[in-house]
Every structure is written in structure tokens, then in C-alpha cells.
């Protein structure tokens, strides 16, 4: 580290000398831009930066240059862009995923009833084409999102809690929600916040009939049926993949598209945004890294080899699998990289969600029976699964907030996790499964053997099928038959509205972001497949299949409504703990083990990159770890 500083001071000194002619003492830019500034193509760095740039510091002050190489899985992998480049909303999370920090918004105010949010934009922030970013753009975005012809959906045009925008001045605006929206800041600090800062009025307005009478004709001239399709092609919402196919689209990211992503692209490349509005505390315009090179590959094996060969600088996504770990571990020297720690947000490796809304009354009754679920849970030898599938990584765990979460509750996490076939049998007996057939399978009340068919997508996580194959034998020992139905993911989703499943398998999302994604704690979203019909009653998305929930679930829903309305985080936590208490009491879904930590590949010459970070969709790492401050030595 010592050496790093020495090297750096030299670099800084040189840039300082270069900038000495300018009026501001400390603002430096990448040498990559010098020629453009000299030729007058670009204004000097001081004019490009806002008067009050956002100052972000890494562990050390970096130096400019280099290319950050990573790998995208096929063309449709917009996730990796969100997680690296595109995470620039009004606000952002801190590195610990605890506090919401200012980003494009310099400051905000929340009304006590949590209905009104007033934001003040950073003054002088410019889009990548040099146009100032103002409330006009915010207003335009809201307008477009609310246009039914523009296929996007988010909190902006929400129907359950409609929002209205009020522009106060060029930099100040106010969102007003019909109902209290206590978690709004957390929402927009996550990926949902990328919607509102994604469209520039000047550029996108030209495709919208309201601002361009000829929009429809232009669209047809460009080969599109109507303006809406053309608009969606040029100015897709938030982080939709095809946004990155348009290099002309002005953005607020640290890098702008160089070679766009398209169906034929072998790579998507980015170059630094000369108008980026963040600096380090020494006044160097960020990012340090000049270019990003995202290899587009359908071949996981190619990405794996690239990483092994040191041709990937920082990556966790796609390649950091349990199975590959020994490989990457051994390859550190040859590839000149090391492994960083990644803490998953998932609480559990596998969640068994029995369909409590099953159409078959016998199964419905059985799956709603808590004794049945407890019996199954005790029948699982979790330690064995952990040893076999995860080489001893992890611990027996239910679907509960992770130890890192403020909602961690040891009892909730550990209840019914001990392996005890005797106890399991007692509970299954108590659930009414006392009779057995010749094969030793218990009989349900209608005389049918107790067979649970579980849908699983092994293509998504190969270890699921491994765990289930072991569980199959363990359940068999207590007289329950588990049939594995390994299916395509489309089918997996198609089966939900039709209610055509006994049980489905997924990972334990919501281990850290329990408050934002409580799908396993109560019937919260379409992903709560254990109570799909109750969810519909709560959300109202598919009223035709909605069913009134059981009382305890209704109580949770009511409590969660209060959570959403509460602006005070402390009170919110209090309310949510009440939701979790009911979850603990009712034990709706069965978990297996705590999701073990994953790892990231970090090239040894990449500095300021996090040695440890969370990984979630709502906390789209590594982007909240400020990659703009990373640099190559």
C-alpha cells in the first residue's frame, strides 16, 4: 500500500502541473481527454463538472487509465451493466447497505406522513452529451412512464400507490404519493431508482409526438411501425437491455457506450464520460478507469477460462460457482488475481415452498398443516447436505434473515432444523399421516400416498437437484415420497397462475433485504408461490384467482401495510419484527442451509476494489462499491 501512494503522488503531481494553467486548483482529468480539450471539442474539466461535484473516495487515490474487463452472459445480460455502470440514481446506498446517501440528488426532505418527498438536484450535473440535467428531464421521464404506449412499469406509474410530480424549480421537485410510502428512499436507492434518471428530454423528446409532431413519420422512416416502438428502441426504460444498443443515448453514468451491444456484438465497450459529475477529494474527475470491456459470451466455459487466464479484472457474476472455486483457487498465481469475499443476500440454499393454495383439498389441508411442515423439516439431515453439496460451507438454517441483517432472529433461523427422524415421524403422525402403504409411504386422508412433486429448474442452480436428490432419500425414510420434476423455467412460471404444482423450489431471497423482499415471510409477491392465490388477494394483480388468505396471513399483510406507510426506520423495524414473529409461529416454508459466501475474482493490479461485499439485486454490487474509484496500478 505504501508503494501505491508513492506511485500515485507522482501521477497526481504531473496532472496538477498540467492543470496549473486552469482557474481551479485541483480539478484534474484523464489524459485520455486532454487532446479533445485542447482542440476545443470538449470544454475544460472545470466547466464540465458541477459546482458541487459528488466527492467519492476509494481507499487510495488512483491514477487514470486502463480497461476493466469482464464477461457478459450472452446478449441479454443487462444485469451486469446495472451492477457495474448503470447504478446512478437520485440516491445510493453506502457500502454496508445500511444508509441512503445523496447521489444525483444533493438533498431531500420527507414529509412526516411519508407521502411527500422533495429532492434537490446537484447543480451543474451534465448528461454525457453536455446538456444539463434538470427537473425538466425528471418531468419528461414521469410523463413518458405514465404514457400507456410506453412499455415500462415501475413505482413512477404505479396504480396501487399513484404518484404525482410537482416541479418546483429547475433543480427542485416533489413526489407526492397517494398512500404513505415509508420505504421510498430505500426503493430508489436500489435498482428501482434507475428509472427516474434514465431519460433525457432533449434526446428522447424527439421521438415523442408531444414534442415532435413528426414522431410517427420519423419512426416509420426508420423502419418502425409506430413512434412508441421507435421510442422504446432509442430510449428504453431504466436498464432494459436495448438501452445499451444505442450509443447516442445520453446517460449520467461514469462511462458511455463506445461499441454498443447488439445481437451480433462480440463485446460491449465503454469509454469514460467526460461530463461525469463525481470527483475524488483531491479533485480528480472520476472514474479513474478509462474503458470498460464487456465480453459477450454464451459460453460460461469461455468466461471461466478468461478469468483463469487473467483476462477478467473483476467479476463475481456467472463464473463464481461453488463448483469452480477450487479451479479459481488453484489458478490465482497463473492468472495474477485473487479471490474476494461475496456475501449473498439470500438466506437459504433451497426453499421448499409447499402450495398452501392447492386445488386438491386434501393436499391443501395437508400443506397448510404446520405439523406436516415441521415433520418434513425434522426429516432433513441438513449437515449431511451441507457436507455433500457445499463441502461443509454453511449451517442448518431456515428461511430467515441472515446473521448480517438487523432482523436476524436465531430462533426463527434455527427452529426445527435439527435432524430427528423420530420427531419427524411424531409430527407427521400428528398431521394425520398415520397409515402407510406397502412401500412404506404414508397415506393421506383420501388414501393416496403422500407424494410431493417438486418443480425445480436445475439449469439455474445445479446444486438444487443435488440437494433434492438427497432430501428425496431422507423424506423416504420418514414415509414421504418426493418426486423431482426438473423443468424449463418458462414452464415453471406458467404453472403458477394455473395452480398446477405441489411445490416449487427457489433460493432464499430476502435474507438481508428482508424488509424489501419478504416473499417467504408472508404472501407478499408473485414469487411467494407457497401462497399464490393469497398474494393475488393482497396485490390484486390477478383478481380472477385471488383467494381470501388465512387469518394470520391477513394480519401480516395489515402489518406490512403499516410498514410501508412508516417513514421512521426504527418504527418500521419494529412493525416488521411483528410480521416475522407471525412467520416464526406459522413456519410457512422450509429451508435447508444458510447460503454460503461466494467469491469474486480480483486482478492483483486492480486497486480500491472491495475485498468483501454483499451481493443482491436490490444492492447491485459491485456498483454501490464505487467502481468509479477503482484503478489499475
Amino acid at each position: 500500500m505504501r508503494k501505491t501512494y508513492l506511485g500515485l503522488t507522482g501521477a497526481v503531481a504531473i496532472s496538477a502541473m498540467l492543470a496549473a494553467a486552469g482557474p481551479v486548483w485541483a480539478q484534474q482529468q484523464s489524459p485520455m481527454l486532454d487532446a479533445a480539450v485542447e482542440s476545443g471539442e470538449l470544454p475544460p474539466v472545470a466547466e464540465r463538472l458541477p459546482s458541487n461535484p459528488l466527492v467519492v473516495d476509494g481507499e487510495s487515490v488512483g491514477k487514470y487509465g486502463g480497461t476493466w474487463r469482464m464477461g457478459m452472459r450472452g446478449g441479454g445480460d443487462n444485469g451486469i451493466i446495472v451492477k457495474t455502470v448503470a447504478y446512478e440514481g437520485l440516491v445510493r446506498f453506502d457500502h454496508e447497505w445500511k444508509t441512503v446517501l445523496p447521489n444525483l440528488a444533493e438533498s431531500w426532505e420527507v414529509s412526516p406522513d411519508a407521502k411527500e418527498y422533495t429532492f434537490k438536484l446537484r447543480d451543474g450535473v451534465k448528461w454525457s452529451d453536455g446538456t444539463p440535467f434538470t427537473t425538466e428531464d425528471i418531468a419528461f421521464t414521469v410523463e413518458i412512464y405514465k404514457d400507456p404506449d410506453y412499455a415500462a412499469g415501475s413505482w413512477i406509474d404505479s396504480t396501487t400507490n399513484p404518484m404525482t410530480l410537482e416541479v418546483i424549480d429547475e433543480l427542485t421537485f416533489k413526489f407526492t404519493f397517494e398512500k404513505p410510502n415509508g420505504m421510498f428512499l430505500e426503493t430508489i436507492a436500489g435498482t428501482d431508482g434507475l428509472h427516474i434518471t434514465s431519460l433525457q428530454k432533449k434526446y428522447c423528446g424527439q421521438f415523442y409526438p408531444k414534442y415532435n409532431e413528426n414522431a410517427d413519420a420519423d419512426a416509420q422512416a426508420a423502419g418502425f411501425t409506430n413512434w412508441a416502438l421507435y421510442l422504446q428502441d432509442r430510449c428504453a426504460w431504466g436498464f432494459e437491455t436495448i438501452r445499451f444498443a444505442n450509443p447516442d443515448l445520453p446517460v449520467l453514468y461514469g462511462w458511455v457506450i463506445d461499441q454498443p451491444l447488439n445481437a451480433n456484438a462480440a463485446r460491449l465497450t465503454w469509454k469514460r464520460n467526460p461530463y461525469f459529475w463525481k470527483t475524488d477529494s483531491e479533485g480528480n474527475q472520476l472514474p479513474y478507469i478509462d474503458n470498460i470491456d464487456m465480453r459477450v459470451s454464451e459460453s460460461i466455459e469461455e468466461l471461466t477460462l478468461l478469468a483463469l487466464n487473467g483476462e477478467i479484472d473483476f467479476q463475481e457474476r456467472h463464473i463464481a460457482t461453488v463448483i469452480n472455486k477450487p479451479l479459481f483457487f488453484d489458478g490465482q498465481e497463473q492468472g495474477d488475481y485473487h479471490l474476494g469475499e461475496v456475501i449473498p443476500s439470500s438466506s437459504n440454499t433451497l426453499v421448499l415452498q409447499l402450495n398452501m393454495n392447492h386445488d386438491d383439498p386434501v393436499k391443501r389441508e395437508l400443506y397448510q398443516n404446520k405439523d406436516f411442515r415441521i415433520g418434513l423439516s425434522h426429516a432433513i439431515d441438513r449437515q449431511e447436505i451441507i457436507d455433500v453439496v457445499f463441502t461443509g460451507q454453511g449451517e442448518p438454517f431456515q428461511v430467515a434473515p441472515r446473521p448480517e441483517s438487523e432482523f436476524y432472529d436465531e430462533e426463527l433461523a434455527k427452529q426445527y432444523t435439527e435432524f430427528d427422524p423420530e420427531l419427524a415421524a411424531q409430527h407427521l403422525d400428528a398431521a394425520g399421516l398415520t397409515e402407510m402403504n406397502g412401500d412404506g409411504i404414508r397415506l393421506m386422508s383420501n388414501g393416496e400416498p403422500a407424494k410431493i412433486t417438486v418443480d425445480v429448474i436445475s439449469a439455474l442452480r445445479p446444486e438444487w437437484i443435488d440437494i433434492l436428490e438427497i432430501m428425496q432419500l431422507q423424506f423416504q425414510a420418514v414415509g414421504i415420497e418426493l418426486e423431482l420434476n426438473n423443468i424449463d423455467r418458462t414452464l415453471f412460471y406458467e404453472k403458477r397462475p394455473g395452480n398446477e404444482y405441489d411445490a416449487q423450489i427457489w433460493a432464499g431471497d430476502g435474507g438481508i433485504e428482508a424488509l424489501q423482499d419478504p416473499r417467504y415471510y408472508f404472501p407478499f409477491s408473485d414469487e411467494s408461490v407457497w401462497a399464490y392465490k393469497w398474494v393475488q388477494w393482497y396485490n390484486g394483480t390477478r383478481p380472477e384467482i385471488a383467494e381470501e388468505p388465512i387469518d394470520w396471513a391477513k394480519e401480516q399483510m395489515a402489518l406490512y401495510d403499516q410498514v410501508k406507510a412508516e417513514a421512521d426506520p426504527a418504527k418500521r423495524g419494529e412493525l416488521f419484527r411483528q410480521v416475522l414473529a407471525i412467520t416464526k409461529e406459522q413456519f410457512p416454508v422450509i429451508g435447508v442451509s444458510l447460503m454460503p459466501n461466494s467469491y469474486s475474482i480480483i486482478r492483483n493490479n486492480l486497486k480500491n476494489a472491495p475485498e468483501s461485499m454483499f451481493n443482491a439485486w436490490l444492492f447491485p454490487t459491485p456498483a454501490p462499491m464505487d467502481p468509479v474509484t477503482w484503478y489499475f496500478e
Binding site: 460460461i300 477450487p326 479451479l327 483457487f329 455433500v388 428425496q472
Partner: protein, 381 residues
Amino acid sequence: MMAVDTIQPTIHADLPKARARRESQLGLMWRRFKRHKLALVSLWVVVIFYLVTLLAEFLAPTDPGAYSARYTYAPPQGIHFFAVNEDGGWEFGPYVNGYKTEIDPVALRRTFVIDEETRIPVRFFAESKPYMLAGIIPMSVKLMGLENPRDPFYILGADRLGRDMLSRVIHGTRISLSIGLVGVTMSLFFGIVIGGFAGYYGGWFDSAVMRVVEFIRSMPTIPLWLGLAAAMPKDWSALQTYFAITLILSLIGWTELARVVRGRFLSLRTEDFVTAAQLDGASDWRIVTRHMVPSFTSHIIAAATLAIPGMILAETALSFLGLGLQAPIVSWGTLLQDAQNIRTLATAPWLLAPGICVVIVILALNFFGDGLRDAADPHGR
């Protein structure tokens, strides 16, 4: 003396005696076949593999699904048949070595060292838990077994869950080879019926069939597979899927056989013995089944043998694409799916065993089929 008779041009076999013709033809073919040493060896290889499919439960040391936490990715033990006894002499006493194991929590793996000191005797025809051989014959003896079933027994190594590769490969053989056989049987049925009638009647029916064949062959197979495999009903069981996959493969595979059969029919149609039978007033069906088909059974067998490898390869390719058979079904395709990553190549190459089986069986089937073809028709193809 037989050989002399057959090249003697003055002796003409009595034509309508189809049975006699066929027997002598098959006998002749067998004699010619025996001359191809490679083909003969291949025949035995194929027979052995198909025996394995019948006796899978007996041959497999353990259950293919039996996992063991302690032995994930255990390397192959091999098997030793002779032990050095106290006198320094050799004696028959099959055994396997134990493992010394260490867990590396950072790299997330176990490291195994074969422990030459530990010798675990292997017993032949060992008692085992009762099972049903091929699903019908109750048995409680396995070919090989250990005294203590808790001891590691991984002649070909273990997979990521500590399951015995040998047992899995043996059970996979059953699925993959039967897919080949069932698929080819179905293809053969379609091929003979459709190709036969096209060749026998000729005319518009023939050209229509040939257009269909041409059409099917000009479709790239991958999208056909994808479409058909994806269209399979949602709640089919593994077994149903298995048969559906077989059917799909044979729906695409029959065209080649149909072409062969049609060609044969076309050339046989004008042969004297067929004309003779027609003049005798035999029905079409009788002519086809009694006179024509027997006269090229050998060709059909050869063509069918050569078609099996295609089926087996197709099964592995489908599994690779994540279509077709899926775990927990054990087939060579699904086993190879587990092996298709850099990690396996780098650290657990023994997981490629099913791939080697594929190569061996396909080689054997090809040599066997080639030998059959040469024997069936020494002059042409």
C-alpha cells in the same frame, strides 16, 4: 464344398424357397462376417454392453443415487486382484485401497490421497440389500461388494456428491443404449414400412415420400429437437419423457433407413424371383414379406446397426442443451452434462468415463455394422 456350389453358375437356387434362401444367406453372411476380426471383436463389445444394460443392478456395486459426503470427487481407486501375502508370494485376493482425506475450507474441496496401507478386501458375489434385477427378478447378490458397506468403493472414482461413477455409468448404459435400440427399432419400423412401399409401388407415392424425406433432411435438426422437446406436455414423468425423446429421435432418424430400404426395393422389384412370384399370383403383402424383405434382412441389420450411434450421440447432444433427459435420470448424456465444465477437465477427469463409453460403443457399433455390411454384400454397398 458349399463355397464351390455357390460360385457354380449352373446351379440356380429354386426361387420361391425364400426360407431356404434366407437361412443360407444368413449362414453365409455369418461366415463372411467372422473373417472381419475387428468386427467380431466389436460384436462382443456390443454384446457385453447390452448385457450390462440387462444386468445393471447386479453389476453396479452401489445404488447410482447413493451419495456420500466424505467422498465427493474421490479419485478412482482402481482394483487390485493380487495381494502380496506374508511369504512374499502373490495370491488372489482382490482389494481396493482406502483414502486419506483432508478438507481444504478455503479452496472448498477435499484432497484425497490413495492410502496404499489400507486394504479393503473386495468380495465377489457379495450379499447385498435385496433388489429387483431389471425390475422383475428379485435378487440379493451383487457382482462385487465390500464387507463393510461404509467403506469407500469407487473403482472409477466419485462424482461431486460422492456417488460411485462405475455404478452410475452402468445404469447410464441401460438408458442410453436402450434409447439407441428402441429408437432404431422405431426408425426401422417407419423406415421399412414407408421406404418399402415407396420402393415397391414407385410412382407418385414414391416421389411424395422422397420429397418428405428430402424435406425432413433439409431441416436443421437442432431447432426440430428444441421445438419438439419443449413442446412435451408439462407434467410428463421421467419415463414418459424418455420415450417421447426416443420417439422424437426416431421421427427424425427414419429417413435414412427409408432411403436404404427404398433403394433396395427399387432394385429388387425387377429381379426375376419377384417377377416369378408376381406371375404366381402372390399378393403384394406376401411378395414383400416373404420374398423381398428376407432377401435383404442383412442389409437392414447393417443399416440399423450403423444408425444406433447417431441416436446415442443425439441423446448426449440433447442433454447438453438441457433438453432431453434431465437429472435425476442417469444416462450417458446426463452424466456428461455434469462433466462438461472446465472444473471437471481440470480436477476430476474421471467424470469423463461416460464419454469414453460413448466412444467405445460407437466405435464398436460402427465396426460391427461395417463388418455386417461387408458380409451382407461383399460386392457393393
